[in-house]
């Protein structure tokens, strides 16, 4: 009962005004585990993972990340965030910085890694996501898929313990989705602890140990990808799956 995972939600609630956006969430993510979060729009999936790095704050319950309790005065949130990579739906690359500068900015200024070392690591990471030839390109010169791969490299440059993905492929043209998913699969296979909000069920089947289905702010169902896709237990998850898997 008291075992602690890398990310531990215990009875977490959150309100936006009168709207109960997270309802009594209890969820534990083990180190090296990959958890996919899915559910209809407005179900609280993004809010759930945004709480983990404090982009949203919770009202009650406990949220413990990497052994540190959020909201505790002893927890240095800025420090904790360096251990958590966050990939946004809309990339949010720094438009005034090149791809390499995007990757090295936080390592140099936050992690205080020497510039030459950070740049070497940055080049290696951009090569790893297949963008060795784009190190000096600005975000506006890159396609959506390329921008999102830079954004993933930017997170990896901090050598995080956890990676969070908030609908990383939802803003992409269909032909660019697989290049981003391939990078995410590679990150997962290296043993990263990941929470991924996505409707890419192929990705979930391939690398996720668990699929969590949310609806109206609550976790309705949770299980292995095989269980969840072939034998959803609730009406709501069945209805959801029938909609996203129809085509």
């Amino acid at each position: 009962m008291t075992k602690t995972g890398m990310i531990d939600f215990r009875g977490v609630n959150k309100w936006f005004g009168a709207l109960n956006v997270l309802k009594d969430i209890t969820l534990s993510v083990e180190p090296r585990e990959v958890v996919v979060v899915c559910g209809p729009s407005g179900s609280g999936k993004s809010t759930l993972i945004r709480c983990i790095n404090g982009l949203e704050t919770i009202r009650d319950g406990d949220l413990v990340v990497d052994g540190q309790r959020l909201g505790d005065p002893a927890t240095n949130m800025t420090r904790l965030r360096t251990e958590i990579g966050f990939v946004f739906q809309s990339f949010n690359l720094y438009p005034h910085k090149t791809a390499l500068e995007n990757v090295t900015l936080a390592p140099i200024h936050v992690r205080k890694i020497p510039r030459t070392e950070a740049e070497q690591a940055g080049r290696d990471l951009l090569a790893k996501v297949g963008l060795a030839d784009k190190v000096d390109a600005y975000p506006a010169q890159l396609s959506g898929g390329q921008q999102q791969r830079v954004a993933i490299a930017r997170c990896l440059g901090m050598r995080p313990k956890i990676m969070l993905f908030d609908e990383p492929t939802s803003a992409l043209d269909p032909e660019m989705i697989s290049e981003v998913l391939d990078v995410m699969v590679a990150v997962a296979e290296e043993g990263m602890t990941m929470m991924v909000v996505t409707h890419e069920m192929g990705f979930a089947r391939k690398v996720a140990q668990r699929v969590v289905f949310m609806d109206a702010g609550a976790i309705v169902e949770s299980g292995t990808p095989d269980e969840f896709f072939s034998n959803p237990k609730t009406d709501r998850s069945r209805a959801f799956l029938s909609k996203i898997l129809r085509h």
């Binding site: 958590i84 966050f86 438009p95 005034h96 900015l105």
Partner: protein, 225 residues
């Protein structure tokens, strides 16, 4: 009609206009530097979440924008000495222009910072940057580019406003025109000449704005998201 227009007198007074022009240029430069300093402080106060700094900043900006510059100038020039602060008129003039223009500059800077998409702040937060790091590395470099053209516009306004300092006998460009008008009773010559000089200053600043616009155009575009 035009035979009454004396170019000779204008030429005769050119050294005076020259001095006035020089004074207008340097006091505008100093005042604009002051306005930037006032504007940066005010916008920083205005962007705080707590009311302690925000409310005084807003009150100041509203007061300055709601009252005429001439009234502000007269308050500083006639009012302050009665309260025990006697300052040379040039200092009063620069102070008035800096404090007045600073309120407008504050709003330009604030708008520039707020124009940076929320996602940029979040990207900085998520990578563990402090508020100061986010401002220095992410927000201000982007906001700077957005604010240059409106700041140059404000500089043009400031140069024209500096004409009011002639009313507290600062020997700037408009004062030179007034002197010609009253010494020789030649208001047409006096004020046409200063108009030509203001036009010259205007084109200089406009040229600078165009150059900065081209420089911004050469910079990497803002992302569409």
């Amino acid at each position: 009609m035009l035979e009454n227009f004396s170019f000779r007198t204008i030429v005769e007074y050119l050294p005076l206009f020259g001095q006035g022009l020089v004074t207008t240029v340097w006091l505008s430069l100093v005042s604009f530097a002051g306005a930037l300093a006032v504007g940066i402080v005010l916008s920083a106060m205005n962007l705080q979440r707590g009311w302690l700094f925000r409310v005084p900043a807003k009150a100041y900006i509203d007061t300055v924008r709601a009252t005429p510059l001439l009234a502000q100038l007269y308050f500083l020039y006639f009012g302050l000495p009665r309260l025990g602060f006697v300052l040379p008129e040039l200092v009063v003039g620069i102070l008035a222009l800096s404090l007045n223009s600073g309120a407008y500059v504050a709003e330009i800077i604030r708008a520039g910072i707020l124009s940076i998409p929320r996602g940029q702040v979040e990207a900085g937060v998520a990578s563990g940057m402090t508020y100061v790091q986010r401002m220095r590395l992410v927000i201000l470099p982007q906001a700077f580019k957005v604010t240059i053209p409106p700041l140059l516009g404000q500089a043009i306004v400031l140069v024209k406003d500096s004409a009011l300092l002639s009313l507290i006998s600062v020997a700037e460009l408009t004062r030179a025109g007034q002197l010609l008008a009253s010494d020789r009773f030649m208001p047409a010559e006096g004020f046409i000449t200063i108009a030509a000089f203001y036009l010259l200053l205007y084109y200089c600043l406009k040229g600078l704005a165009a150059l900065s616009g081209r420089w911004i155009g050469l910079q990497p575009a803002r992302s569409s998201t």
